[in-house]
């Protein structure tokens, strides 16, 4: 797959998803979107269209485990759970993010 501008976004999305699942336990896709939106106080809005490809890819990569289950409203939903590999990846992504944030902050501070 071609690397494109979306990469950064996708990278961030993975970080957000992994972090959410790590903190909250198993969740379905919709709950993940809702959680990120709520916790970020509506600053971040997950592009719904990119969420599912990202979830599938992360499942393929072995960072997530996916399983069908029922919600409290008795709807069928696919629940995602973070794996040990996913936790390792979370640490990596977190570090990358910190580095990126530091870098950007330094550049912005420089006048």
């Amino acid at each position: 797959m071609a690397r494109s501008r979306n990469d950064i976004l996708q990278g961030t999305l993975a970080l957000l998803v992994l972090k959410t699942l790590d903190a909250q336990g198993p969740m379905h896709g919709y709950a993940i979107t809702a959680h990120i939106q709520r916790v970020s106080a509506d600053l971040l809005r997950v592009e719904e269209g990119s969420l599912y490809p990202a979830l599938h890819r992360m499942a393929q990569d072995g960072w997530l485990r996916a399983e069908w289950g029922t919600t409290e409203k008795n709807r069928e939903a696919r629940f995602y759970e973070i794996t040990a590999d996913g936790r390792k990846q979370l640490a990596v992504e977190q570090e990358n993010w910190d580095r990126l944030r530091n870098g950007v902050a330094r550049v912005l501070r420089y006048t």
Binding site: G29, A34, E48, G49, H56, Q60, A77
Partner: protein, 889 residues
Amino acid sequence: MSWFDRLRNHSRDDDVARDIDREMAFHLAERTDDLVGRGMQPDAARREARRRFGNLGLQKERTRERDLFASLDILLRDLRYAVRALRLSPVFTIVAALSLALGIGANTAIFSILNAVMLKSLPVDHPEELVAVVRSGGTELTNPIWEAIRDQQDMFTGAFASADAAFSLAESGEARRIDAQWVSGAFFSTLGVQPAVGRLLTTADDYRGCPATVVLNYDFWQSEYGGERAVVGKSIRFDGHPFTIVGVSAPRFFGAKVGRRPQAFVPLCSQAVTDGPNALDARSRWYLQVMARPKPGLSLQAIDARFAALTPGIAEAAMPTNWPPELIDGFRKATYTVVSSATGFSDLRLQYRTALVELMVVVGLVLLVACANIANLLLARGTTRRREIAVRLALGAGRGRIARQLVTESLLLAFIGAALGALFAAWGSRLLVAMLSESGQAIALDLAPDGRMLAFTTGVAVLAALLFGVVPAWQVSRVDPQAVLKAQGRGVSEARGRLAMGRALVSFQIALSLVLITAAALLVGSWRRLATLDPGFRREQVLLLSADLRGAKLSPDERDASVNRLLSRFRALPGVRAAATVAVTPVSGSGWNNAVSVNGARVVLKRDAMSWFNAVSEDYFKALGIPVLAGRDFDTRDTPTSPPVAIVSQSMAQKFFGTPNAVGRTFQTMEGREMDAPVTVIGVVGNTKYRSLRDSLTPVVYLPRAQGARGDERVNFVLFVEAPDAAMPTVRQAVAETAPRATITMNTLERQLDRSMPVMRATATVSGFFGGLALVLATIGLYGLMSYSVARRRNEIGVRIALGAERGRVVRMVLSDVSRVVATGIVIGVGLSFAATKLVASFIYDVRRNDPATLSGSALVLFAIGAAAAAWPAWRAASIDPVSALREE
């Protein structure tokens, strides 16, 4: 993602699609609920949910693409693109597919023969269990040895002996030959063959004094009896002896010998009927091949050990009585071993192995040349497709994706080539087998495609696709969309890269072509030399007639009289200038040799004491135009009771008597354990080739027929006639009138010589054909390269001409360009030839394999082809109009 996951994804294709649908439906439902909860109308909420989700179909695709990475879907799409791309350039597609069809087809054809001769298992029960019993020093055994093994062994669940047989179905006139096989009783049960009709032979049919019975081959039964079931119990006459048909073997079964297709199986014991009562006791007739199925759990080593213990008993029971002591000693020491023999027996393996390997290499090289050609064409096409690819890259296609697309195109092309090639192979392999069969002995091979052949062809096609597809794909992966789009496809640096790659490919082609045409020149040259050399006798105008007199049931004296009558009859025919008999027809592949002693000392059976022998009637030398150099020809003075005499070849006189004129000298040979009476030399004749045209002019001793071949049942006549083919009916008529019970076969000496080297002929023909093909491909490659190079340099050449360069200079420039490419190829090719011509060493005649004249001849041909291929581009370069060329800039 591991290949396993991908595979799982393939099989779960539908599951995955359903999963994605369900997941998205859930998401939309939740979102709608949420929006409704905030006071939206359900319809509006659904629309809003959808809008937020984005393009549903695209999302599904993207999600799926993740899951079904490299899935069948993409492959099919790639294939559709590939078909479209190939259809866009039909000329390229046709040229490429045809050259691949020839290349892959030729490989498949040779491999199918190699497969049939060397690799295929016998079509019998558990062929892998079968073993051959062989004796140190030869695979053939005598009947007494076989009987000793049969009666003493306890290692096998079944064991049988078999041997080739040939009968005539006709009892007079032209012989109708039928290939058959002598088989011992356990033949069918050991191989596990079922009857199609009636029953098969069993051990109960094979005993001393058995009646003559026969099992027919299925095909023979079909062609000769139309599949008539009532054939059982009928009788069929072989060489005039009635054989009772007991059954028909299963279809497809052809015995244990690859390359032969016996039409009938007759019990070994019935040899006493056709060949006389003593035939089964012949202790020095080596003709049986023994095969067995070991008892379960018995290793080959264990069997060998058992045989070691049995050997003295076998030797005792089967010892030849009349052998000289030194040979008896060797007989005693011979050991018996078993070798795994799933592929059966074959005389062809040894005979064809070198030829098949040589041809395999030739066709392999041809395929490489074809691949280089296609790679070159693809490169040229890549240049024109640059823009298309640049646009696709600019639109966001991944390079890997585009490379994959190009590889798919190559694979598609290769498989089209392979499919066409399979047709070509089916035709080509049959043609080649027919060519190899022409020496009189028909070769029957099972050329039907099997799994191994399919795997081979597929493998070759994939390999070819990689060979010609990888370089262009790699080049494309280096396309810089910005530069290409900006430069309107005139990226100079990249064009240079393409040109350099093209040059390398064409040089490589030239190198391989040099190897191919050098090999072809060596082989075809050798073949020509053999076909035209002076064998020491007359090639043309000689009619060969072989008469089988057994049907008439005559005594030896009567047979002799009959032969004499035939001779005088032939001599009286119009157009016949001389007629004679000969025991061993020259260059027929068979021979008769014996040790010679010239000083009365005991004959020693050593190689340098050996001479070839022959027995001829008077006029033989006249009929074949062999000069009598001293002394006299045989005549009526030489009778069975007169003192033994001989005529010798000049080389025999020189070797054994040290003088070209040996008339009056004597020599002795040995018959059994006793020395024969001294033989007086009465004449010396010119040297001739004896067994094959390749032989040197070896010593030959000619004995008079009256003393050396009296009373033979099969007599070969040689007739010196004005027109051999025209004389055949007259001669046939003469035989019918003079010896009505004789069966005959006729041929001309010229044809027999032509066909005496089928392997050589086939190798030379095929190598010559593919050498020519390689030249054609190399010419196309050179022409393409030069045209492209001139088109590239149009501006530069325009400038040169504008600045006053003469047209001749421009032509020279182009020609020197092409000769650099050719010269590079030749230097590499000469190096390769030194290694490659080792393979043809065993075929070539009267030339060294690294013959400098042949090599430089091949190089010259390639230069000439280079010049020819460059002529048109050079002329075009010279006629470039500088004004228009410069204006284009």
